[in-house]
């Protein structure tokens, strides 16, 4: 199969049962995407497939063939963190960090389609991403601050 991840196209020969999370983590060694609940509930494995958020642990790799995939490794540019990544650092948007790749990818998808989300919009959108450390307050704050900074053109 052919798959494009963070702008790089790969030709791979994988079993039909391979999930997208396994393919990313094992075949492409992109271990930033985490697998936690394995049943599509927790959001740790969230990646973008053709711009849409997907639970990669319950998505077959074959379903993502030919699509553009974005993972946490694809957020930063060569010399600069994505504004959401910087905002998570500045506002305490993570502690242990295991859910953070999924949170960041989900937050990016939100801002891609709504650049001025309200706090309720953020909570609603992010309710598919579990976090056990932060209690979510600083995640919501991080996303709101990144959105506000983008609007101000910072």
């Amino acid at each position: 199969m052919r798959i494009t991840v963070n702008g790089t196209t790969h030709e791979l020969d994988v079993p039909a049962s391979r999930t997208l999370a396994e393919l990313l983590r094992t075949d492409l060694d992109l271990t930033g995407t985490k697998e936690s609940c394995a049943v599509g509930v927790c959001g740790a494995c969230t990646v973008l497939v053709a711009g849409r958020i997907v639970a990669s642990c319950i998505t077959l790799a074959a379903q993502a063939a030919d699509a553009n995939i974005v993972t946490v490794e694809g957020l930063a540019s060569e010399d600069r963190l994505h504004p959401l990544q910087q905002s998570f650092i500045d506002h305490g948007g993570f502690q242990c960090g295991i859910c953070t790749p999924g949170q960041l990818v989900a937050a990016k998808a939100l801002l891609d389609q709504n650049s001025t989300p309200t706090e309720d919009d953020i909570r609603e959108w992010m309710s598919g991403n579990l976090c056990r450390c932060t209690g979510y307050y600083q995640i919501v704050e991080s996303i709101a601050a990144a959105a506000a900074a983008a609007v101000l053109g910072d």
């Binding site: 985490k34 509930v41 305490g92 953070t100 309710s127 056990r132």
Partner: protein
């Protein structure tokens, strides 16, 4: 410009970039060439004899390299303190989920299929799941050989109650007889999982006589010693390498499958990685204990507490092995920081045929505080005294003994409670079906053993060496701040070097708010030690007395000479300067940290649905080293408390956990959180060089009681058991009407 006083500043996390880019390597991300994948066969019976175990089909399955059973794991029992658990079941299983056999294979899938080929025949035995059933005369004794286990205390007679402790003060019987009112209630709390999002994982590699381990533990030295004992090898033959830890909340002090992973790697002759799935985590992890708390309290009509009897019963599960001390604390917190002259506090730990309990955030305290603070509200209502005034009347002050006979220093309970009440608008009018509930708690920063090394390098970089494996709370960043502050340099000049377990002999690791107390002290003293070594070096080199030499950031001033820069000096002599300390601060902190919380809820009388509208948490704090990290502990602790209060429960049917995924075991999500107001009541007093207080536990402990009390205030029904589901509230309302 970067401030040169980093203490108290919300500096960026040292692990920030690695964690937001996906570069951070967790135990599940570690791999080695030739690595095999381990899977387990778990018991499907709560209590049974294994009459036949046939692994031959599994062993013959293509791609399988090893299948092990109890015959392959040595003779030692396993446990942190009380060694009562077989590594793999020996002819007997005591809970659904108990580990029976393990397979190492070329892939997860092959291992899983091979496990399905293992045949087990059981002969069922009578089981006990509840505390009451386990204590009944007719109950089967789960551990008839208890007294022979290493780390156990002999019992007078065989019993499922393996630990009993009583504190008596005053004359409780007379005090009850003289009390104007005696209130007696029983409270029950559910078993819950820590719900970290990174499951337990281990990778073990035996290489030229050494055992290399990558596992997500916050207590690497202790876990190394447990593995050495269990595997009957020298601790020096084992090295635990650092992995980033994906959440702990108490659960990562238990190695869970590490000993099995070691025996699998030994049998297969290849590295083996075992990653638990969440069916295993929820069904056979190390959850917070279910408890039964009986409270009997005597009080005078003016609201003065005179007698308090606690019976704190812990459903320990089938083994004590996962508990670092064999038992959990908590019983005294069911008496709380209140003045009561006559008390009896009994704690009993009971074996049952259920999943063994372990540590979770302030082990025992949320259970005890839920019971006590609910009980106090019941008493206040019976006496027609406002719950706030009732508490203020009975709180300990400086010089007062607690119910268990200790004294706190610099008690700031009243200030903390009053500031919570003020911030929450406690006395302001409320609409119907809106209620406010109060609860308080305390937790001191834990003691332990810590190590640190500070190395000043040529050119001026500073490296702090530490033995701790930060489980996510940000301790590395705090330590970086401490060292940067000591040398008045920007924090990014200080990097952290995390030692593997060869780096030191003994270190307590993380737990019980120990990190901020013990490890900041160690980092501070190591920095002081390095500073003294640098002064001695300069003094000798320039032939000046040490007391004439002064530092100001990188500048060293020597009388009669131009100032020199120490980074340049070290470059010139091509040598680093090192300070290193090993500290032991085992005693519990007498200066504790208090918390007072007020929940405001709406309870729907038709459905029983409870919504937390607003939550106020006031903390008596010492010096706050990193405000963002400190607030993160408060936020996370409160939200975990809300989950514990309203939704979380490992449901058990016939001994079998039935909530086996994050779809069934509900934890709060971003839409569940109420507006949170935090009040910090600052104090000059605390422990260690920075006069700190712990913040990891206190935000979590009183939440359930505050919410239960608010529900009662809103609709007039008392929920005696956690979690407070809509069904329970609805049922209680319905019962009251009939």
């Amino acid at each position: 410009m970067t401030s040169l006083e980093p203490i108290g500043v919300a500096g960026p996390r040292i692990d920030g970039v690695a964690k937001v880019t996906g570069e951070a390597k967790y135990a599940v991300d570690q791999s080695l060439s030739g690595m095999l994948f381990g899977r387990l066969l778990h018991s499907s019976r709560p209590h049974a004899r294994i009459v036949r175990l046939d692994t031959s089909a599994a062993a013959a399955f293509p791609g399988v390299h090893a299948v092990i059973t109890s015959a392959d794991v040595g003779d030692h029992l396993y446990g942190r303190r009380i060694k009562d658990m077989p590594v793999l079941a020996r002819d007997l299983v005591r809970y659904v989920g108990e580990r029976i056999a393990a397979v190492a294979a070329d892939s997860e899938e092959i291992a899983r299929r091979a496990v399905d080929l293992i045949e087990v025949e059981y002969e069922d035995l009578p089981s006990v799941f509840s505390i009451d059933d386990a204590l009944a005369d007719s109950a089967p004794i789960l551990h008839p050989d208890y007294g022979t286990y290493p780390g156990s205390h002999p019992l007078d007679a065989p019993s499922n109650c393996y630990f009993e402790h009583t504190i008596n003060r005053g004359d409780i019987e007379s005090a009850f007889a003289e009390a104007d009112l005696v209130v007696e209630n029983t409270f029950e709390t559910a078993r819950v999982h820590q719900a970290y999002l990174e499951p337990h994982a281990s990778l073990v590699h035996l290489d030229r006589g050494r055992v290399h381990v990558w596992t997500n533990t916050k207590a690497p030295q202790a876990i190394r010693d447990v593995l050495a004992f269990t595997a009957d090898i020298s601790r020096d033959d084992i090295v635990l390498h650092r992995s980033t830890i994906g959440g702990d909340f108490g659960g990562k002090g238990t190695p869970l499958n590490l000993p099995i992973c070691y025996f699998l790697a030994r049998a297969a002759g290849q590295p083996v990685r075992m990653v638990a799935d969440y069916i295993e985590e929820f069904g056979a992890g190390s959850p917070r204990h279910a408890t039964l708390v009986h409270l009997k309290t005597g009080v005078m009509n003016d609201g003065t507490l005179v007698a308090h009897h606690v019976r704190f019963l812990v459903n320990s599960g089938a083994y004590a092995a996962y508990k670092p001390n064999g038992v959990i604390g908590g019983a005294p917190r069911a008496a709380g920081p209140y003045r009561v002259a006559n008390s009896r506090i009994e704690a009993r730990h009971v074996y049952t045929n259920t999943v063994p309990g372990g540590h979770m955030r302030s082990p025992g305290s949320p259970q005890a505080v839920f019971a006590l603070e609910s009980q106090l509200d019941e008493i206040a209502r019976r006496l027609d005294i406002d719950p706030l005034r009732f508490r203020l009347h009975n709180l300990v002050e400086d010089g007062d003994d607690t119910a268990w006979g200790e004294q706190f220093e610099h008690v700031r309970l009243k200030e903390t409670l009053e500031s919570a009440a003020e911030a929450a608008g406690y006395d302001s009018p409320k609409a119907p079906f809106i209620g406010r509930g109060i609860a308080i708690g305390d937790h001191g920063a834990g003691g332990g053993i810590g190590n640190a090394e500070v190395v000043l390098h040529p050119g001026g970089s500073i490296v702090l060496g530490t033995a701790i494996f930060d489980q996510g709370t940000g301790t590395y960043t705090t330590l970086q701040q401490v060292v940067a502050g000591q040398f008045r340099v920007p924090t990014d000049r200080v990097s952290i070097e995390v030692w593997d377990t060869d780096g030191t002999d003994n270190d307590s690791g993380i737990g019980g708010s120990r990190g901020t107390r013990v490890n900041t002290t160690a980092a501070y003293e190591a920095a002081q030690d390095a500073r003294r070594a640098l002064i001695a070096l300069v003094a000798e080199r320039f032939d000046q007395p040490e007391d004439q030499i002064e530092f100001e950031t990188d500048e060293v001033r020597i009388p009669g000479r131009d100032p020199i820069r120490w980074p340049d000096l070290l470059t010139e002599i091509e040598e680093p300067v090192t300070g290193r300390v090993h500290i032991e601060e085992r005693s519990p902190a007498r200066i504790t940290g208090f918390v007072a919380q007020i929940a405001e809820v709406a309870a729907a009388p038709e459905t029983g649905k409870v919504d937390v509208l607003r939550f106020t948490t006031a903390h008596d704090v010492g010096r706050v080293l990193n405000p963002v990290g400190h607030q993160g502990q408060i936020n996370g602790g409160v939200v975990q408390g809300i989950g514990y209060s309203l939704m979380e429960e490992l449901q058990v049917e016939d001994g079998r956990v039935t909530t086996l995924s994050f779809g069934d075991f509900k934890i709060p999500v971003a839409t569940d959180l109420p507006p949170l107001q935090t009040v910090l009541v600052e104090s000059e007093h605390g422990v260690g060089p920075y006069r700190i207080k712990g913040i990891g536990e206190t935000p979590n402990t009183p939440v359930a009681a505050a919410i239960a009390n608010a529900v009662c205030d809103a609709v007039g029904v008392r929920i005696f058991n956690l979690p407070i589901t809509s069904e329970k509230v609805h049922h209680a309302l319905h019962q009251r009407e009939n």
